[in-house]
Amino acid sequence: MTDPPATLELSRQPHWRRFFSRFLRSRNVMAGALALFVVISLVALAPAISPYAPTEQFRRQRLQPPNAEFLLGTDNLGRDIFTRILYGGRISLQVGIISVAIGATLGTLLGLLAGYLGGWADVLIMRFIDMMLAFPGILLALVIIAVLGRNLQNVMIAVGLSSIPVYTRVVRGSTLALKQVDFIVAARALGGSSMRIMAWHILPNVLAPIIVVATNGVAGAIIAGAALSFLGLGQQPPDPEWGLMLNEGREFIRVAAWVTTFPGLAIMATVLAINLLGDGLRDILDPRLKL
């Protein structure tokens, strides 16, 4: 029992190839993936593309509208907004991905345990999840920040932890259904340990809904992370972050709308791209999943 049987590998190949060809044909997936690719490339290549340093101040050029020198204008301290958006995107994307990694890992683990073990484990875990769900939306993240203190690292932890319930519920539901399926019953009859069955047989089969939830989850985490920085609880000045930039530009919205408009557009474009991708993936991987 060290390797999965070879026949399984053979039957899996065309399965994934079929999915892949459906990805290529889905307009949503392709549009979302392309837009996301552009965003990630721009952000990854920030040092090469950006004309200035993200905290470099041009004191004589404060609140300049977009021009040839400053592509998207400057903010109240004379910093180049284009540069700051590129660098700020690194933080925002990082928050999105790391939070989802935290939430998806812990949430999946709890969901597997609750669904597979059942009984008291199930009751305890689900009561705990119910408790978390009593703190709606961003409130749970705010509570966690209030406890841990405010900085960017805690934002990722807070946003990640507060996304646990979605994954737990989805994974638990799928696990409950899978437990009755013949190959799982067979694996148990053959004496496979619970850990082994969960890791090798159940987890691969609940990956599809996890991928769908996680994709849309990245969009949600970017929004939530930027919200916390917007409120002054995440990234601290002078380093750029999209939510923080929006907040910094808020004061000057009457005289220099571009200071808020462009970071806002950056968040929206990124989130829209991820949501498009997520919706497309859902239609292909798991059409019954209702989000």
Partner: protein, 307 residues
């Protein structure tokens, strides 16, 4: 019905218990000495810390502290704000009406816009109108509330100068924040109404009604709409939760002195008792709203029987 209500309430007991324990433990989960948390940024001497511990009962066993915290909470006493020394409950009740006004208005807008958009998309299924409506819904979902708030201020307060950008009181100061708060929920509601409508449209009883010669408009009104809107009710509780947490941001941007704005202020100022009390209040309120939603749902959906 009464059995359903009783079992639903019984289910809530562990949730409420865990919520209170979690909120109580917040203080002890905070890194560092709880007494220092109470002292905040004030300079602390060992004598002062000991005095705070004694006053706050931090020297007693944890379960006793919990019981006395809950005992006070049940009598409406959530302690005093560390910043202003005003009772927490008093501040919550002062702020709450503004938040309820905002959330209520936003809920109304979201329901009107979301349901009509979803209906249009479903009736014009697979047409350009459907695509446009769903694209609009996707944009709504992808708009963070702080971004839509700023855009609305830019458009209506800065450029058109028809509505005030900040403040509270009166309809004209309610429209922009409510609209901003409503957008995300309107988007997700539109998607849900559409898929729920399409599901009902495929049912046999719709075909029967059409086959017996009932005009399409009447079928939609009498049979489809009524069935399709039932699941929407379950979403209302969830949406209200989103509104409450979204109020944290809209109230901050529009300078409305509501509960959400107070909450952010308390977190920023490390006003621990205020954060703790408000968290408990909002969570319990949310749990209660969800019970009401479930009961209403059971009432209006004749297919569901809880015995």
């Amino acid at each position: 019905m009464s059995t359903f209500l009783a079992s639903r309430l019984l289910q809530t007991v562990p949730t409420v218990f865990l919520v209170t324990v979690a909120v109580f433990l917040m203080l002890h989960l905070t890194p560092g000495d709880p007494a220092e948390v109470f002292l905040g940024d004030k300079r602390s001497s060992p004598e002062l810390l000991e005095k705070v511990r004694e006053d706050m009962g931090l020297n007693r066993p944890l379960h006793q502290q919990y019981l006395s915290y809950m005992g006070n909470a049940l009598r409406g006493d959530l302690g005093r704000s560390l910043q202003t020394n005003v009772p927490v409950m008093e501040q919550i009740l002062n702020r709450l009406p503004w938040t309820i006004e905002l959330a209520g208005a936003a809920l109304l807008i979201a329901a009107c816009v979301g349901i009509s958009l979803g209906l249009i998309a479903a009736i014009a299924h697979n047409s350009a109108l459907d695509t446009a409506a769903m694209a609009l819904a996707l944009v709504g979902i992808s708009m963070p509330v702080y971004w839509s708030s700023l855009l609305l201020i830019l458009l209506f307060a800065v450029h058109l100068r028809v509505l005030p950008a900040i403040g509270q009181g009166g309809l004209e100061r309610l429209i922009l924040p409510a609209l901003a708060l409503a957008l995300v929920s309107a988007g997700s509601l539109a998607r849900m109404v559409r898929s729920s409508m399409l599901e009902v449209l495929n049912q046999d009883f719709v075909l029967t009604a059409r086959a017996k010669g009932m005009p399409k408009r009447l079928v939609l009104l009498r049979h489809v709409l009524r069935n399709a809107l039932i699941p929407v009710v379950t979403m209302l509780g969830l949406m209200l939760g989103n509104m409450l947490s979204g109020a944290v941001i809209t109230e901050t941007i529009f300078a409305r002195l509501g509960l959400g704005q107070k909450y952010v202020e308390a977190v920023l100022q490390k006003d621990f008792t205020m954060v703790q009390g408000t968290t408990l209040f909002i969570a319990l309120m949310y749990v209660f709203v969800n019970i009401v939603v479930d009961v209403v749902y059971a009432f209006i959906d004749p297919r569901i029987r809880y015995d």
